[in-house]
Amino acid sequence: MRLPHSPSRLQERLGWSVALMLVVTLLLAACGDATNTAAPATTAAGAVTTAATGTTAAASATTAPGAATTAAATGTTAAAFSGTFDGTIKFGAPLSLQGSLLAESKQTQQGYDLWRDAVNEKGGIVVGGKHYKIETKYYDDESKQDKSAQQAQKLINEDKVNFLLGPYGTSNTASVSKIAEESEIPMVEGNGAAESIFNQGRKYTFGVLSPAPKYLQGVIELALAQNPKPTKLALLFANDSFSKEVAAATKKFAESKGMQVVLYEEYPDKETNLTAQVTKAKQAAPDMVINSGHLAEATAIVRAAKELGLNAQAFGFSVGPGLPDWGSSLKNDGNFALSGSQWTQAVTYKGDDVFGTSKNFYDQFKAKYNVEPAYQAASGAACGIAFQKAIEKAGSLDPKKVRDALASLDSMAFYGQLKFDERGVNIFKPMVVEQWQDGKRVTVWPTEVAAGGKAQWPTPEWGKR
């Protein structure tokens, strides 16, 4: 029944409907823009009803005895906030929720979320007597730098976030740092410790982490205080920028302390089979083996060391033993491993933040997510805390004033001291060292924050564990 010319008419109809769509598009676009400019994000946001916050408060009261302890520790605000919020403050971050960095990134997000909920429960961030509710926005950057950069702009321009929290990974952080600088929106990050990020003279990027050169210093210091004292060091490191930075600094530090680096071996980033490197290490007969890399490589080294019978007084890792996956996957083989860590639940700082103590943070985190927090989670929460302190100090949401407040911030949190040098790096907080002992992470260094943990030294041979 089709008319001979119907196809072309169909096509024409298609064409005109498309044109119509365009007109609607333009109209909508114009209107959308108008509403966006008419309503600046922070001022107008209506009062959020108490009912919602009331229920969350009740829920958390049942889960965490921590809530009570926090209140006691900080003593600043009531246990649960029951007023109305006067506005919202939006924080945004691109995160790597797919790709090889998923586990670490997930912890970061949970750290941000835990901080957000804990603060909101207590009445949010108080600026000039007004209570502001914290809101977070995330995008998945798939561990890709270009996506991070794009999403940071999306967060600033479309979602109108007030401040940026850090993404995961060095190169992603570097990219977002540039966007933050250009938009003059402060970013506090807890996942990019490479010096290369902070050597650009940027003013809007702050890192709560101890910088890369310090990552494994504690492990070396710990080792030098032990008996027998190690003298020969083998260093295996991935050839990505962060791992190389850590390795170079560790080598320099160890040599300055009189240790001899008998092997300084680079391997391709993401290499999953490290038998060749472990074979080399075995020939060099080191007293101590140190790896600067990632989780997959650290576990590959453990596997190869066991198989090839590489024994040393200690095995130290930059990344790996800090993550819960270490114990769940390696089980007994993971014992005795040392790791430099930004934070552990055993550190005994007395903070005046929403969590107060590490134990409190640990309990709340465990209760909410049913996993142990790694330092990535604590760093995430610390980013939020730094912002909160700075905003309250500045008494304003103005990005410039908050930036200045961040630059002059000196505050003690459960995470450690939050203070930034002129580059924006937190060089004031020490790294801690933890060791897996009988399937548990024990903080063993420095002694003043270790809460009694002692390093098991030396590591027994593989056959005698």
Partner: protein
Amino acid sequence: MSLQVLVNGLLLGGLLGLVGLGFSLVWGILNIVNLAHAAFIMLGAYFTYYAFENLHLDPFLSLPIALVLFFGLGYAVQKFLINRIIRASLLVTFLLTFGLEILIVSLGRVVFSGNAVRVNPDYGSASFDLGDARINYMKLAGVGVALLLTYLLYLFMAKTKTGNAIRAVSMDLNAARLMGIDIPHIYCLTYAISTALAASAGMLLSLYLGTFTPDSFGIFNIRAFAVVVLGGLGSIPGAMIGGLVFGLLDQFAQGVNIGNISLGGWKEALIFIALVVVLIVRPTGLLGKEGYR
């Protein structure tokens, strides 16, 4: 000392040979570069992991089950997806398998979560010394499995009627059709065998890697490429030879210094420059010939 490097190279090489074998089969016969290969390897590794953790099934015992299951999976994928598109250009099939790879790996992340896991049987680190080299029993058994599967495939292709039919299809499609060979079925069979081989490679890799996540396996597509090119497309022993050559290159580049200089960081660059050079100088690889054998 370099004996250990040699051993490491051979143990890795056998495994890579198996990784390349299934890839080579699909490429040589179906003329498809199968980017979903690594995804099936991933699935195979996780199958081994769950069988080991939940059912306490030894990896070497769960392998036959995996072979059967993945044979079925591969057959279905070819029948319902790839056969629908097989006559389109090279690019189209390439992208179909790329889409499958994204789909399966992303699904893996959701289902298996991104947490690192490990398969570690009690005997995992038992080993014996040969001169000053230490050889791991489990990895040796792994190479044994790889060689056995390669040999079985070789026998199958050379001696059975179906195997001959597969070879015939790869040599001359039209002649094969005229001989009454059921082409779609042969294609499905080939892809099914390749998938089963991928799963077995995944099982061996789960024993080989320190820990793994769904993202740990993407690199093996590139490895498979290199193995097949080195060994020569369209040759079963070629894939194994290619794997061994790759394994030795890999381990010697990382394990032996030239003077005082370690080539560890340059390894990937060297391997892929070598790959391109082999392609240019001898595109058929070390053992490759026209057709399949």
